[in-house]
Amino acid sequence: MKLNRHITIIQLVAGILIISSLFYSSLIAAELSAREIMEKSENVEDGETMISSMKMILIDRKKNQRVRVLKSFRKDYGEDKKSISFFLSPADVRNTASMAFDWDDPDKEDDNWLYLPALRKVKRISAGNKKDSFMGSDFSYADMNRREISEYDYKILKKSAMVAGHDCWVIGSMAKKEFKKKTIKETGYLKSIGWIRKDNFVAVKSKIWVKKGKKIKYFKASDIVKIQGIWTAKKIEMKTTKRKRLEHATILLFDNIVYNKGVDDQMFTTQRMERGL
């Protein structure tokens, strides 16, 4: 498992929401422009704090499965976010911890630390290559980061499509010409199509074109429930395919999600990473 550029599962959840919001959400008001819709989608409610557990199932081409279990905490400080995650299993990565401070100010470098129990040492880490796989999964680090709305064109490809009984918009997204090189370099993605539920603006599936190797990724969210008033997908999967054959897949199962419960500031310290849960 690659752990040198770690992003917490809280950011993953937020990232999925961002995927949905960037590409597809908040389009219920037809009179809004695409830009207005995207700006609105930036403010998707995700609570002031969040505690959650996640099982990450990594599946290779032969359908062999590896399971990772994590517990995470997030706290918002205005527009800034602090988050920390602890690995509970498997045994060879147990007690590994990662912490991230996500600053809203674009001039500030995000802060990331990693605690490796083998070294018994907290190490600061750089942001690295955002196209890389997140923890060996089919999600990339770029999936977790906010993208500049102004750098993309969006288009409603279909005003109504049914997915699992829910009416959805089908939205296409592609970087503007002047930002194409930059966004492809940062994300590795060429374009995407997404399906957004009209009743709650949640992305239920999407198709993403990957530049390297002409791969296609398929994203699906299900088991979508309202927890403390916040729409939350409890099952998320991403499949990476090549010529319609599976290369690898990742399924995320979220559980024990609690929003807006007091999370101590001391949770977000390097000392806490060393101590573990």
């Binding site: 498992m1 690659k2 040198n4 099982k55 199932i57 290779d60 081409r61 359908k63 499965q65 590896r66 399971v67 279990v69 517990k71 299993s89 498997p90 045994a91 060879d92 500030k108 470098e109 802060d111 083998a118 070294l119 018994r120 040492k121 600061r124 880490i125 750089s126 942001a127 690295g128 290559n129 796989s133 923890m135 060996g136 064109d153 288009k155 490809l157 279909k158 089908v170 296409g172 592609m174 010409k177 194409k180 492809i184 060429l190 374009k191 199509i193 198709k207 530049k211 390297k212 190797g213 002409k214 999967e237 395919t241 090549k242 054959r245 001391q266 310290t269 390097t270 000392q271 101590r275």
Partner: protein, 519 residues
Amino acid sequence: MRKKRHFIRSFIIMAAVFFLMGSYQNRLYAESTDHSVDSETVDDEFNEEDFGESEGEDGFGDDGHNGFDEPDIEIKLDISKLKETGSQEDSSLSFGGFVKEEVGYSYSYNDSNSSPYDKPVFSKIRTTLNLYLDYKFLTDWKTKLVGNGYYDYAYEQRGRDKFTDEVLESMESEAEVRDFFVEGPIADWLRIKAGRQVIAWGESDTAQITDMANPRDMREIGMVDLEDARIPVLATKLAVLFGSLEVDLVAIHEFRANKTGARGSEFDFLADLPAVLATLGGTLNEEETTGYNDSEFLIRFYKTFNGGDISLVWADTYDDFFFLDSSPGSASLTPRHKRIQSIGATGNKVLGSWLFKTEVGQKSGKALALKSELMGQKLGSGIYKTSFDSDDEVWVEKNILEGMIGADYSGFSDLTITAEVTGEQIQDYEDTLEDNEISGGYSLRIAHSALNDTMKSTLFWIRYSDDNGDVVRADVQYDAVEALTLTIGVIDYLASKTDATVYPIKDNDRLILSAKYSF
């Protein structure tokens, strides 16, 4: 010439392991990834389009806007695996560990070496069992116990009578308690951790400048796993938190020295010394590791800020490295440990994909050996000191300045490159000293991951300045199935100068195979 040949041979071996494994990774990828696709071609598909143009009506190709067209790939989750992991976070008691089987093949032993290192041989066939127990109690208190033991069959297989008692005692088997501590909060701002523990400070991966709390396992230089490199010590640590500032106060209650190659082992850096001393009527005594009863103390101020961390460290400890002290009333030498004081600072700074790091420090009161001929003259004079506290020493007390600058770069896909330069200067240098006034080294680590992080390749190279030799290691780890990690690697020691630091171990090159199962 010999050095050049040795270097070329070693380079070829390293390159073969590292890059052939890289090729293997690529081949695995190639089964499903067409690398022949010209990336510019892909770019061109989109250069002129926007929605509604070139790729059909909507710019989204043949799929059209209706087309999710997900391949029919059914994935059935392994429910038993999910159940296994289901209740872990709620458990106050947890235990586990690993079993590891390691095989080492020393391929460079030859006839020029003395027995038992006279021909290529399996020099390690070691089985290790590691067990841990975690128990959480009260609110936010926990205790941890880690035990580790191994048995190395290679010594029996090669013939135990070929080895010294010291070698068998040090290398054939071991069973010890590693970590054993209790930890918890005394107040919101104050925590305590008491017991055998590891306290890992500093920025450098290769130098111990401010990382002074724990001795190191150096019995097989370059081959010790990271998790085993630091030796836990009995200590009490108080951590005081003031926002992003942490102050650590540490008292160490037991002295443990660096574990070094036993007398007569393949990593015995003093292998030639007993014969030299014998000509003077002296001996090389056992390393003195008892009698160091005074507690050691360390303080660290550690602060994080946006984009970087800094720390200041002060320490009053015993030197974990031994020095050679002349023995009262004889021409013998005894490896002993001296009290030293250290002060240092560390810092790091992130800039994009770069992490720059530095560490500086001064160690006061280090015992440095006189040149060997001067030492020989003193020992051979027949005028021996009357006690260990005598002034007539074969060493000199000096202060040493140390520094490290380095950087991690992780801007390439799935690749991290780490480079460090370390150096040290002896203050108030005298020509009578064995060591050079300025010394140091350079290190490079390249780590690559592939196959969704199931395969990791690492190349590590450290070069000591002043032609003191190189240590190069390349290995590939593969997670064959859940919790089972297979490793293949090679380590090579390079030195040509007979007085080079690495020279005594230059024939210890080794192929490494291991399988580790965690549970």
